[in-house]
């Protein structure tokens, strides 16, 4: 046995060549660009430009194709109160009454689900978490099916089902909260286990309701609520969704550094002046409200809230303020594209959104995972 011949280089001795030298140059590429505030603003501005173009293009496409120029003109006419010629009224109505609310809703929900996914992953410290892991989507589905089957909430007219979904989502969140906070602290593992258990229970309730339903209508609904779709979008729902999701995005962004600290663990968070329990409770209320509203108008679109956060993190790094600045516009662009495919690929039939998000998202995600040294969740 010979002693080891090579002494390990001591990183911290006084002779350390790196000590006192300026920091190494920022890495080139996107991550380097994003390290500066200016770079981040540029990237976000570019993403918003892409989003605007996607929205106008997507509004033009469908069974009746309308060029982006025409689309923009109709949109301008609608917003500014301008006039359109008599022969254009049909095209105008397709653009403004049918497609615009749908595409805007897709953008909102894509942005919201992506940001909520980022927040949920940080607050339960689990890379597999998504907006629906806390039982919200199952609650919404169960609520919607319950309203359909029982004919309840009839006073709300066309909004009855959405209202039922929202009520179900909130009830599920309150249940998850009450059970996991039963003994004071809201630990990440308790939260996620409770969420999964409540989800499974509510799915069973939903199945029971469907089997007890007299007709087949409920079966089709299940597909809609579990896979998602924007087929029911209308101008009526947009104000409510915007009023919850847009401020929610701003609040989540402002939680950026708190989420950084929460991701370090509860002990460390406490030592850095962030009460983990109080922050987790506030975040749970916020993300439940946002998710509930989104699920009520679009069903549970899987995958976006799981994968967009990871893809954005691979590009911009782990700092939550940066992730939460880039994820919403990126998620919005993605969702507008997915919705476009869903209504054009097999027209006139619509594909459920979850099918497309997964078919597109999985390969993209796996490719990026292989190409980048992405270490979320262990090396």
């Amino acid at each position: 046995m010979s002693p080891p011949a090579i002494a390990a280089p001591s990183a911290s001795s006084a002779a350390d060549p790196s000590a006192g030298e300026p920091l190494p140059e920022p890495p080139s590429g996107t991550r380097g660009l994003l390290a500066s505030r200016k770079g981040l603003v540029l990237v976000c501005a570019a993403l918003f430009a892409v989003l605007l173009v996607s929205i106008v293009t997507a509004i033009g496409l469908g069974a009746a194709v309308i060029t982006p120029g025409e689309t923009a003109r109709y949109l301008w006419a609608a917003v500014s109160g301008g006039r359109v010629a008599a022969h254009e009224v049909t095209a105008y109505q397709i653009v403004w009454e049918i497609r615009t609310p749908r595409v805007l809703l897709a953008a909102l929900v894509g942005a919201g689900l992506s940001a909520v996914g980022v927040a949920v992953q940080a607050m339960v410290r689990n890379a597999l978490a998504d907006p629906f892991v806390l039982g919200v989507s199952s609650g919404a589905s169960a609520g919607a099916v319950a309203v359909t089957v029982t004919g309840g909430l009839a006073a709300l007219g066309v909004y009855a089902v959405s209202a039922g979904a929202f009520a179900g989502a909130l009830a599920a969140s309150v249940l998850v909260y009450a059970v996991s906070a039963g003994r004071g602290a809201l630990s990440p593992l308790r939260l996620i286990l409770t969420g999964v258990a409540v989800s499974l229970g509510l799915q069973a309730v939903m199945s029971l309701l469907i089997y007890s339903a007299p007709d087949g209508e409920a079966t089709g609904m299940v597909l809609y609520w579990t896979m998602g779709g924007f087929g029911a979008a209308s101008w009526g729902a947009l104000p409510v969704v915007s009023a919850v999701v847009l401020p929610g995005l701003v609040v989540l962004y402002r939680y950026g550094r708190a989420l950084d600290v929460l991701a370090l663990g509860d002990e460390t968070a406490a030592s850095l002046g962030i009460d983990p329990d109080r922050h987790r409770k506030a975040l749970l209320a916020l993300v439940s409200l946002m998710t509930g509203v989104m699920v009520a108008v679009s069903g549970a679109v899987a995958f976006v809230g799981l994968v967009v956060p990871h893809v954005v993190r691979m590009v911009v790094g782990a700092t939550h303020a940066r992730v939460l600045a880039v994820a919403p516009p990126a998620g919005a662009v993605f969702m507008v594209g997915v919705d476009l495919v869903s209504r054009t690929l097999m027209a006139p039939r619509e594909l459920p959104l979850g099918v497309i998000t997964a078919l597109v998202g999985v390969p993209v995600f796996l490719t990026l995972m292989r190409r980048r040294a992405y270490l979320f969740g262990g090396s």
């Binding site: 390990a8 001591s10 990183a11 911290s12 001795s13 350390d16 790196s18 000590a19 006192g20 030298e21 920091l23 190494p24 920022p26 890495p27 505030r37 940080a122 410290r125 689990n126 890379a127 962004y253 402002r254 950026g256 550094r257 950084d260 600290v261 991701a263 370090l264 663990g265 509860d266 002990e267 460390t268 406490a270 030592s271 850095l272 002046g273 962030i274 009460d275 993190r313 790094g317 782990a318 700092t319 303020a321 040294a373 992405y374 270490l375 979320f376 969740g377 262990g378 090396s379």
Partner: protein, 257 residues
């Protein structure tokens, strides 16, 4: 700034983890907490960095009752280096260290020039500046420990508490870390397993057993053959360190009589 634990007791699920613990750490002193596994060392420490609220008793920093301060305010006075579960998020070393400024910054405010210098100096002190752009998850255990200490220093606390900071460190870095603490001028409360390192590094030691403070005093006064036998159940001879005069223990593997 002086750190005082006054009559601290912690009871969880009917079990008494810390019983009536009183201990003072004078300004600029390094005080070690030692004791067998489960003797309440980490629990007492958790009350100081506010991960745990004591059932009774008070923690005072500079005479002020810690529980009356906001979480942010106390995080500006007391920093901690703790054994938290593995972190899953791939921050760079630079980003992880910069989070030490969290209690000083509102919202997402970026670090100012002075704060960036502060982070750079802390990384220099811990010899991790060359790792600044590396992902934390790619580091060795010892490198991660040094990132944690750099973050605690960047917090600019008056009081630093550490739970087993020498875990995962080789002997060179153990000695270096403890010397750094001694030279920092901070008021330090540190939990250590290694009694010999504790004797070398600390001005005073507190010995915990079953949540009770058995004795406290200078290492010479505390580390006796009888005490080590009584508290840790091992036989050891106490000798004086030939270079420094600190008491050092030589353990005997022979079964206790």
């Amino acid at each position: 700034m002086e750190l005082g634990l006054e009559g601290l007791s912690v009871v969880t699920d009917g079990r008494s983890l810390v019983r009536d613990l009183s201990l003072t750490v004078g300004t600029g002193q390094v005080v070690g907490l030692v004791g067998p596994n489960g003797s309440g060392k980490s629990t007492a420490l958790r009350c100081v960095y506010r991960a745990l609220r004591p059932s009774t008793g008070t923690v005072r920093v500079g005479g002020e009752d810690l529980s009356r301060l906001t979480a942010r305010r106390s995080a500006r006075l007391v920093a901690a280096m703790v054994q938290d579960g593995a972190v899953d998020v791939d921050f760079t070393v630079e980003e992880a260290v910069a989070l030490g400024r969290a209690p000083h910054l509102r919202g997402n405010r970026a670090l100012g020039r002075r704060e960036r210098d502060l982070c750079a100096r802390a990384m220099d002190r811990l010899g991790i500046r060359h790792l600044a752009r590396r992902g934390v998850l790619t580091l060795s255990g010892g490198e991660r420990q040094r990132v944690l200490l750099a973050r605690a220093l960047v917090q600019e606390p008056a009081i630093l508490v550490l739970d087993e900071p020498t875990n995962h460190l080789d002997v060179h870095h153990q000695v270096e870390l403890l010397s750094l603490l001694r030279d920092s001028g901070l008021t330090v409360l540190i939990v250590l397993h290694d009694l010999n390192l504790a004797a070398a590094a600390c001005d005073r030691l507190g010995v915990l057993h079953d949540g009770r403070l058995v004795t406290a005093g200078t290492p010479e006064a505390v580390l006796t053959t009888d005490l080590v036998h009584e508290v840790f159940g091992v036989r050891a001879a106490v000798v004086s360190h030939p270079l420094t005069g600190d008491p050092q223990l030589l353990y005997s593997l022979a079964p206790s009589p």
